[in-house]
């Protein structure tokens, strides 16, 4: 069972208390963007076997959105962090590097 700590209210919530929101740090492409960018924004999701960054919502708790760094192979959670960021903070990246030295995800490593 997946357990994530909500970075806002500090509750360690298991997954029935949470709602998965898909890939994190998406850059939105809308009117005026190229067809390729719009297509990738809508349909091309990262689907790694390993380190993954996601959005989650503490839906049956404080109701706030946050980010989580997780391994899709082992369900190991590297950390959770605020939604108010465009990229994973350094302490989360360090926590991942300590366990998966070769990790990379999109442009981050």
């Amino acid at each position: 069972m997946l357990i994530l700590e909500c970075p806002y209210c500090g509750v360690k919530a298991e997954e029935t208390e949470l709602h998965a929101g898909g890939e994190a740090h998406l850059k939105r492409f809308g009117p005026g963007s190229s067809d390729d960018d719009f297509h990738d924004y809508l349909f091309m999701r990262e689907n790694p076997k390993g380190v993954h960054f996601e959005r989650w919502r503490h839906i049956n708790g404080c109701g706030k959105w946050f980010h989580a760094a997780r391994c899709t192979m082992t369900l190991e959670v590297f950390g959770t962090y605020s939604a108010q960021t465009y990229e994973p903070p350094q302490d989360i990246r360090d926590a991942i590097s300590a366990k998966r030295p070769d990790w990379s995800w999109r442009e981050f490593k």
């Binding site: 069972m1 998965a20 809508l42 091309m44 999701r45 689907n47 790694p48 899709t72």
Partner: protein
């Protein structure tokens, strides 16, 4: 290959069953093949089989990182139906269903196809309208289905409780010619037939890289050394994203865990497949007497081949309401498989940006029922470059907005 028959059984009975051959060979890989298929599940083996049978291409290797049929082929709930809404889906699923009908004779291998009928319950007003629409669409597509009343449902499934407190049964979509088959036997039967045509099935051989030269595939690197090929077919379900990255392109799909479970065996009590999509549960009874139960997918990306516990609880709770007599059953086993889900819940059977690389993935929660149709179309696509069965299922359909929207028919239950 010695044919299986009643005479073979009689002959072996008289000599202590010492004459049975291995069903397929396990050769070392050759240096070069005309076609390499990655993934020895149902779809990969069916593709190889129809490449040989329909197009005479037999210099084929089927490469598998684990054991044959050990992925989703061995993990599904074996349901076969073709009552889909959109024309391209109905065409390929109906092709598959009709091929299942004489598969045992075709492969000389008993796949135990049992056309016992599939009942999809309508438990909300919205579902009634949806299934009536599907029944009308199926009539136009030549797929035999009908929308039946709650009384008819009770006749077909006497153990059902029509007036559940939360979700009463308001009707159902009934496909009498749907059913189940023995999932392992489908993989084993295709493997035996492929091996008999001279194809090499290479198990425990993991692909570690795809070699591309001048925009075309040159071969694959594997844990058993490099192998060259002219054409490459990728049929690896949940691992399709990983394999496509090796070849240098991306696929619009995500991998999630889907679960199933079986109960202890009981006496025969239900001779059809019942699916209840609103409450996320579906059930049939195996020949051993176990109730085979399938549930929902997890909401997040996952490669662990096990699912979240609360989905089991949801599924079983829903089934208890619809089938009160199963409430005291003990569950024997639970397992998960990694299914590959696309944006419109329809598969991708397509050429790729890399020359002579073909991909067949994205079957999501409904891969088993489509195995022969998928293999038939994929083989035609790989051999000739075009197949009318698969032409709508391209990678580019998302960019062009040509979705094959089956999220209603295939969103959860299968």
């Amino acid at each position: 290959m010695k044919r299986y028959s009643v005479f073979a059984v009689a002959r072996e009975a008289l000599r202590y069953h010492s004459g049975w051959e291995r069903a397929w060979r396990s050769p070392a890989p050759k240096r070069h093949y005309d076609v390499i298929i990655v993934g020895a599940g149902g779809h990969g083996l069916a593709t190889a089989y129809y490449l040989g049978k329909n197009f005479g291409i037999t210099n084929v290797a089927v490469i598998e990182k684990g054991w044959l049929g050990g992925g989703n082929t061995g993990r599904n709930t074996t349901i076969i139906r073709s009552n889909y809404l959109q024309d391209p889906s109905a065409a390929i699923y109906e092709k598959a269903r009709s091929l299942y009908e004489d598969m045992s004779q075709d492969l000389n291998y008993n796949v135990m196809f049992s056309p016992r009928g599939v009942l999809m319950l309508a438990q909300t007003q919205h579902e009634i309208r949806g299934y009536q629409r599907t029944a009308h669409a199926n009539a136009l597509q030549g797929v035999e289905t009908e929308f039946v009343s709650p009384q008819r449902v009770k006749e077909i499934v006497p153990i059902i409780n029509l007036d559940g407190p939360r979700y009463p049964v308001l009707g159902a979509l009934w496909q009498e010619r749907g059913g189940t088959a023995r999932h392992d036997a489908v993989a084993w039967g295709y493997a035996r037939a492929c091996s008999n045509m001279g194809m090499d099935i290479i198990q425990q051989c993991e692909v570690t890289g795809v070699r591309v030269e001048n925009g075309r595939v040159a071969g694959v690197d594997t844990s058993k050394g490099p192998i060259d090929c002219d054409k490459l077919g990728m049929l690896v379900a949940g691992n399709a994203s990983v394999l496509s990255e090796m070849a240098g392109f991306r696929l619009p799909m995500e991998s999630v865990a889907l679960q199933a479970l079986v109960s202890e065996p009981i006496k025969p009590c239900m001779d059809v497949v019942v699916m209840a999509n609103t409450v996320h549960g579906y059930m049939s009874q195996s020949d051993k007497g176990e109730m085979v139960i399938g549930g929902g997918t997890d909401g997040f990306n996952n490669y662990t081949q096990r699912g979240s516990f609360h989905h089991i609880e949801e599924t079983v709770r829903a089934l208890n309401e619809t089938f009160p007599m199963v409430s005291r059953l003990k569950m024997l086993r639970q397992w998960g498989g990694i299914v590959d889900v696309t944006g419109d819940r329809s598969p991708i059977i397509s050429k790729t940006p890399v020359g002579n690389v073909f991909v067949n993935c994205g079957w999501g929660t409904g891969g088993f029922k489509s195995i022969p149709g998928s293999g038939w179309g994929m083989a035609e696509l790989m051999a000739t470059g075009h197949s009318s069965l698969t032409e709508s299922f391209t990678i580019d359909r998302f960019k062009e907005g040509q979705f094959i929207d089956e999220s209603v028919a295939a969103g959860v239950a299968h």
